[in-house]
């Protein structure tokens, strides 16, 4: 069936549910920013200078010492992709909106399993991103660092003793590292404890923001927690600090889940099964409601209130129900209302697949 085929192609490794603490942490990401010495940053580089950057990376890819994970990887030029294709890559978190929308000479390469993407001519010449399912920050950092080491043998990076790796934006200077986790906090949200948490986290130099939705709204109770500071601390210190804070958030979320289950089991079960019912039968659903219901269902799965539905349903569907994906799946441009109909259809099909 077409959906099955599409899911196979559309699924990235990070959307699968595995890795430590994957009931709370959906994914872990590390990206490092690097620039080549002697070439202006992408914002000011000429077309031929941007081409030179791409050429240097392509040349590095031909070397024998290429990390195994990047074997056979090819650079894809942004100019060769349609807007819809770029949008799908953004929705899969494989490229940044900046690369898709603003870069004139951008390119990207992916590892076979899509756990590594290297963006070229984004805000910086090079952005190495490693994205893993579950709570695996250290593994993501090690892989990113290994790719960095390899690349450094073939190109010369802009580096300064005092400031470290030089980046276009002063907020990335030093290590150039941005480590983040995607964390699902339905119970802390339900018990209204998030307002207490978020200011405390910001105070220790980390940032929390909703992954989907705008402003303070976090659709599907999904948040991104990331480091803000990149200078004055080593990469390991940055990762450790983030890990420590996230570990506490995981514990509090798990405690809140247990308490909810203990205090109002029938109410919680009702919430979960009601949301499942809507997802399984709705004919029109907007992304806001879909994310809310998916969050309930995922919480139900994690607490064994729902059986027979794999926990990866939310991880997959939260990406598949985005506008770009819906349109790629439909093979045509869709208006908002048509998307709501397609979205409901896709969710029903996906949930139905598990019951057969």
């Amino acid at each position: 069936m077409s959906l099955n085929h599409f899911l196979e192609n559309a699924m990235s490794e990070w959307m699968r549910v595995k890795g430590a603490d994957s009931d709370v942490i959906f994914s872990s990401r590390v990206r490092i920013a690097r620039n080549l010495a002697h070439i202006p940053f992408p914002m000011l580089s000429t077309a031929s200078q941007s081409e030179e950057v791409i050429h240097l990376i392509e040349e590095a890819l031909t070397k024998d010492d290429i990390p195994e994970i990047l074997e056979n990887a090819e650079l894809i030029q942004m100019a060769d992709l349609t807007d819809l294709q770029k949008r799908v890559l953004v929705e899969k978190h494989l490229i940044s909106p900046h690369l898709a929308e603003e870069s004139t000479s951008g390119a990207v390469l992916f590892s076979q399993d899509e756990s590594v993407s290297i963006m070229v001519n984004e805000e910086d010449h090079i952005r190495i991103q490693c994205l893993f399912p579950g709570f695996q920050l250290e593994k993501a950092w090690k892989l990113a660092s290994q790719i960095d080491d390899w690349l450094e043998k073939h190109v010369s990076f802009a580096f300064d003793e005092q400031c470290g790796y030089l980046t276009s934006c002063p907020t990335n200077v030093g290590t150039g590292i941005r480590a983040s986790v995607m964390i699902h906090l339905p119970a802390l949200a339900l018990t209204q404890q998030l307002n207490r948490f978020i200011p405390a986290i910001t105070q220790v130099g980390l940032a929390v923001r909703g992954i989907y939705g705008e402003g303070s709204e976090a659709l599907g109770n999904l948040y991104q927690v990331s480091n803000q500071v990149t200078l004055g601390q080593s990469e390991e210190e940055i990762i450790n600090k983030l890990q420590g804070v996230v570990r506490q958030m995981i514990d509090h979320e798990k405690q809140a889940r247990e308490r909810l289950l203990g205090m109002s089991p029938i109410q919680l079960e009702d919430r979960v099964t009601r949301s499942f019912g809507i997802l399984a039968h709705a004919r029109i659903i907007d992304s806001k409601e879909a994310m809310k219901r998916l969050s309930d269902v995922r919480l139900g799965i994690d607490l064994d209130l729902l059986t027979g539905v794999p926990s990866s349903v939310m991880n997959e569907l939260m990406v598949l129900i985005q506008p770009g994906f819906l349109q790629q799946y439909a093979g045509e441009k869709l208006g908002a209302e048509e998307r709501d109909i397609r979205r409901a259809e896709l969710i029903r099909e996906r949930l139905g697949m598990e019951r057969d």
Binding site: P40, L44, E152, Q162, C169, T171, G174, T175, L231
Partner: protein
């Protein structure tokens, strides 16, 4: 149809103001860039009228406008010889143009980096290529401090040893 800036004739005039000098009223229309270049600046004038201002305001390092620059200051504004970016432009856009900007603006970067990161010195990874040399230089720094201390405390035997070590490291660097 928006009015073109009479100065450059290219960009739309986004600043419209009336100047009164000695009771004589003149109206002026300029684009943002030309207004900056002419040094036409009035307190409160450039607050929050462009996206880039807003951005640098968010990053909280729009030092230039808070210092109320005048024409003379505008002219001495450091400009990166490699990419042509001025400090003023940097503080508005919030982005460096190339790696040489760091050297050009170094004197002004410390307060900015401290505000963002709480620190001004890189502690993380060092590229393998630069590593050897950098390590020697850091070792040298440490040895020199030790030397100063041992001279101060009149431990001359130790000082002589340190001096030898420093000399050998310096030779390695110059090789």
């Amino acid at each position: 149809m928006s009015l073109l800036c009479p100065e450059c004739g290219k960009r739309p005039a986004t600043l419209h103001y009336t100047k009164i000098v000695n009771g004589e009223k003149t109206e002026a229309h300029l684009c943002e860039v030309c207004a900056q270049e002419k040094g036409e600046y009035m307190p409160g004038f450039d607050n929050g009228f462009s996206f880039h201002n807003l951005l640098s305001g968010l990053l909280n390092f729009d030092m230039v406008s808070s210092e109320s620059p005048n024409i003379a200051q505008q002219k001495t504004m450091p400009r990166c010889a490699t990419c042509g970016l001025t400090y003023n432009q940097f503080s508005k856009i919030g982005r460096f143009g190339c790696s040489d900007c760091f050297e050009t603006f170094r004197d002004r970067l410390d307060p900015l980096l401290r505000r963002i990161h709480g620190s001004t010195a890189h502690q993380g990874k060092i590229p393998e290529r630069t590593k050897g040399e950098l390590k020697i230089r850091r070792d040298l720094e440490k040895l020199r401090e030790q030397l100063a201390r041992s001279v101060e405390s009149e431990e001359f035997e130790e000082a002589a040893q340190l001096r030898d070590q420093i000399r050998s490291l310096q030779e390695q660097l110059s090789e």
